[in-house]
Amino acid sequence: MTNEMILTLIEHRNNEIREVSWELLAAAENFCSQFSLAMATVMLGHDCDSLINEVAKRASILYYLESEQLKYYSCDRYCYVLESLIKKLEPRIIVLPHTIQGMEIGAYLAAGLKVPYLPDCLDLAFESGSWQGIRELYGGKVKGEFLSSSSDTLIISLRPGTFDYFDAGNPEGEILKESIDLNTKKFMSRFIELIQPQPGDVDITKFDIVVGVGRGLGDKEKIGLFEQFADALGGTLAASRPVVDMGWLPRERQVGQSGKTVKPKLYIACGISGASQHLIGMKGAKTIVGINADPNAPIFNVADFGIVGDIFEVIPPMIEAIKSKTS
């Protein structure tokens, strides 16, 4: 028998609560009122007193599981500790962020507990005796409703950037701290180092205008055209992941989940289809332009202005027009 509770995992890194954790709390609060469930949160770590106080201001109950071995995230230790907490609390739903850490925990934990897991969801419903998650397929070109195989315990991961954070103004929450002894258990992984972000040659987050190039570029030699475009606009050049993977631009120019988050006044996406991992990094821009040959490209779902067309035909006349206007 499960307890009528939603347990939300708080993610933190480098001594900061990650923004997605606040989004998750907002989503979980929503689910709690929708499904008449109680709200609880869990955080794992070491020396995190200031962070847990921050969380407790937002959450009514926080289970803080503490051990030196939990100072840095590792899948095996996290899942081992979470598994025993879940067996003890028997929550109805476990909410995780669909981050790199969260997606690893979600699948590994669900496999260990043999419970259904709905990954990377945009929303959750309860329909005729099953949990139903809404998720995207094919990089956002298709959407689907997916049902869990049972109505009991569910693990769900939510897509970052989907739920708006709001301050519910909760009273100070209760912190239930527990020190966990992990020294008697043998784990098969060892943490070595957390590498900090590298500054790179240019800080793309500092520009008011950012031109993003994607897979539609097709060829490294064509980068020059978009550099000219960015220069003419007084902006900077950034890229989606495939361009960086190909080695056409350095990693520091990457916009998206694993790269930088930019919030310029104007973001012009050239030949970028708009995978969710990219959208996370740029959808805070005030004005978004999408130029793409594929009318189904998900970039048009976030754009203010769109041109369905060939970037190599659209950009050159734009450069000419800007130059003639400014000269």
């Binding site: 840095y72 995230y73 899948c75 095996d76 790199i100 850490q101 979600g106 699948a107 590994y108 669900a110 496999a111 419970v115 259904p116 897991y117 990954p119 990377d120 139903q132 397929l137 094919y138 990089g139 070109k141 298709v142 959407k143 689907g144 409703e145 997916f146 049902l147 195989s149 992984s189 943490f191 070595i192 180092e193 590498i195 972000p197 205008i209 606009l233 992941r241 495939p242 960086v244 993977d245 190909m246 080695g247 520091e252 694993s258 104007l266 594929d294 189904n296 779902n301 754009a303 203010d304 202005f305 769109g306 041109i307 369905v308 067309g309 060939d310 659209v314 006349p317 734009m318 027009a321």
Partner: protein, 263 residues
């Protein structure tokens, strides 16, 4: 050293997606297919180990008969053995079912490392690798962007990617499963001539779920599609810029940006 690479053949979706009649999956019978992008990097990473060390590489995939093409491609690229766990065409299998089939094959062979792609282009669940690691009871690390060292019978040291430019470095004891992130390498090109020759000379090991002792009708799944749909085009705020020529579109867009005061 024995390395197993799990791969998935995915449909390449360009233009309008077409759903199957029951609206539970995308009809990929009319799509060109290729090896899932992340799995291409996983394959290449395994091939590079083989170039440095004495290693045997086995590729395993769950899919219909057409998935043979993907496995021949891997054989042509240099893997030693290709295994297809053949399932019915167009049948939806959830990650748990796929991992169960893979686990049955992998657990019956010697292996030091299992490589999977981080996620698939179609479902994008990012879970098969993690479930498989749990089923095999071996350590897991996801989104691996670099292998720092590999000691046979010992450990693998990897760098894995986190968000916003952070990375972790960690070691895992072997055997281990890692999921490979795009950009870790540049996958090699296999010529069509080489592929044709491989198809003539080499054989794929084909197994059915039944031959593995798995009854597909009774194999647990953890999630199932209720209904897929094509999302409406564009956001509510989207203004599509039209024009008779690219020139006209370009000027019209600039005009709108000047009007809005963002230029």
């Amino acid at each position: 050293m024995d390395v197993v690479v799990t791969i998935r053949q995915t449909g390449i979706l360009r233009g309008n997606p077409i759903l199957t009649a029951d609206e539970k999956s995308v009809d990929i019978t009319k799509l060109k297919r290729h090896i899932n992008e992340w799995d291409q990097y996983a394959l290449e990473e395994a091939l590079r180990i083989k170039e440095r060390k004495e290693a045997g590489i086995t590729v395993v995939s769950v899919g219909d008969k057409k998935t043979e093409d993907a496995i021949y491609y891997c054989l042509a690229a240099g893997v030693n053995e290709g295994i297809l766990i053949e399932t019915e065409p167009s049948k939806y299998l959830d990650s748990w079912q796929i991992a169960s089939l893979l686990a049955r094959v992998v657990s019956e062979r010697p292996y030091d490392l299992v490589f999977s792609g981080v996620q698939s282009e179609d479902e994008g669940c990012a879970e098969v690798g993690a479930i498989l690691a749990r089923m095999l009871d071996i350590p897991l690390s996801s989104t691996v962007i670099g292998i720092k060292s590999l000691i046979e019978g010992g450990t693998i040291e990897i760098q894995n990617e986190l968000e916003e430019g952070f990375y972790h470095i960690r070691t895992l004891e072997l055997p281990a499963l890692i999921t490979i992130q795009t950009g870790i390498n540049q996958p090699r090109y296999v010529s069509s001539l080489r592929l044709r020759n491989t198809k003539k000379k080499r054989k794929i090991t084909k197994v059915s779920p039944e031959s593995l002792g798995i009854n597909m009708m009774e194999l647990d799944c953890k999630k199932m599609p209720k209904r897929l749909f094509i999302p409406e085009f564009g956001s509510a705020k989207l203004e599509l810029i039209d024009g008779a020529s690219s020139n006209e579109k370009a000027n019209s867009l600039l005009g709108r940006l000047y009007d809005r005061g963002v230029l």
